[in-house]
């Protein structure tokens, strides 16, 4: 058998070449921008939608309560009151879900260890993806002790 000495691509050389090519491709993939400008704008828009929506629900009445206050109070102290589902229904009134903007609503408080304790949840559109945007609103009940709850609205766009 004749030995070939003229730069043939043998096994080791092929592996080296493969590693070089994979290295270039991996480097190019990592160098590419992770998010486009459009996605960045969408995050801002989702955060604004969420904050505006919760601000409108929490608009103060002359008795210093709000629609959102009553939802949290009903959920915490009422029987069979589903505040998260009611908030989701108000979101559906905006018809933004028709534009592909979906939401998940949670009413939570915090344990003494600082962990989130979900009291009530509504996710009519399934679980949010990883790139969803969450906005929150604190609601304070005096019942008769002061208790602080958090309404968490998670929005995403498909």
């Amino acid at each position: 058998m004749k030995m070939n000495k003229k730069g043939q691509m043998h096994t080791i050389e092929a592996l080296l070449a493969l590693m070089l090519i994979i290295g270039v491709v991996a480097f190019a993939a990592r160098s590419a921008p992770g998010e486009t400008q459009v996605e960045g704008s969408m995050d801002t828009q989702l955060a604004l939608y969420g904050n505006d929506f919760l601000s409108i629900l929490d608009m103060e009445q002359s008795d210093h309560t709000s629609w959102l206050y009553h939802q949290v109070n009903g959920t915490v102290n009422g029987s069979n009151w589903n505040g998260a589902a009611n908030i989701t229904r108000e979101w559906q009134n905006t018809t933004l879900n028709g534009s592909g903007v979906f939401c998940k609503v949670e009413i939570v408080n915090f344990t003494q260890a600082g962990q989130i304790n979900v009291l009530n949840s509504s996710s009519a559109y399934g679980e949010p993806p990883q790139n969803a945007v969450t906005v929150t609103k604190l609601v304070t009940l005096v019942n008769p002790h002061v208790e602080v709850y958090e309404v968490r609205l998670t929005l995403w766009c498909v």
Partner: protein
């Protein structure tokens, strides 16, 4: 002999040539070179946006300007200043004196009621009086160019004048304008027509309440709010 072979090759006759096994293979030198070249191209492409970023301040600032404009309209009541006295009720004062120059900033948020825990204005709750005043201002063609200045859309940056174009509309959630049945016209629709192509238009939408829904069509009820809508702000240059 060599002379004869060259002549045969020129004529396309390779029958007498013994081909080497190394011909047509990719050599390691070539692979290394192409890899280094590819790395260079990738680095160059990834750096290009950053290379030109300092020269593109005008083109890249449209989104923050749209965001800022929506913020001052939705979360601020505006400023009217004359002889050192300042108030957010600019709409009353220009109605009395038509003195647009004293308006330092336009905002649409309603003044906070006496019982409210809000300090000055109620964010996200737009005053019908301020909305009407702004639409009247736009309809006053002799003074409508001043709106651009009061919204902060004509600024000087590094000695260059930046003139932003705008279109601001109050829309229902289905996209139709909030309709004022009294004047039989859109409640708020000011600014230039949005160009179809050729420029980047940045759009920000805010969900707002309108404090007085009398004779308004296309409103949506959300929570305790009788009239909720979208304030759509479009900015371009």
């Amino acid at each position: 002999m060599r002379m004869r072979m060259r002549m045969r090759r020129r004529a396309g006759d390779y029958s007498g040539v013994v081909k080497s096994e190394s011909s047509g293979q990719v050599s390691m030198d070539f692979l290394l070179a192409i890899s280094i070249f590819a790395f260079g191209i990738v680095i160059l492409i990834s750096e290009i946006p950053m290379l030109f970023a300092p020269l593109q301040t005008v083109a890249t600032d449209i989104q923050p300007v749209a965001y800022r404009t929506s913020m001052i309209l939705v979360e601020d009541g505006g400023i009217y200043e004359k002889n050192g006295s300042i108030t957010s009720r600019w709409e009353d004062l220009i109605a009395q004196r038509r003195s647009y120059n004293e308006v330092k900033r336009i905002g649409l948020a309603m003044p906070a009621p006496a019982w409210s825990s809000s300090e000055d204005v109620v964010p996200n709750n737009l005053s019908r009086c301020k909305i009407d005043a702004l639409q009247d201002w736009w309809n006053d063609t002799a003074n409508q160019s001043k709106i651009r200045d009061k919204l902060g859309l004509f600024v000087t940056y590094n000695g260059n004048h930046l003139d932003y174009r705008y279109n601001i509309t109050l829309e229902a959630f289905n996209g139709s304008p909030i309709w004022n049945s009294t004047s039989n016209s859109p409640l708020l629709q000011i600014g230039d027509s949005i160009p179809v192509s050729g420029v980047t238009v940045e759009k920000i939408e805010r969900i707002v309440a309108i404090d007085n829904s009398t004779n308004l069509a296309n409103c949506t009820k959300i929570g305790d709010v009788e009239c909720a809508a979208k304030l759509v702000v479009c900015i371009w240059r």
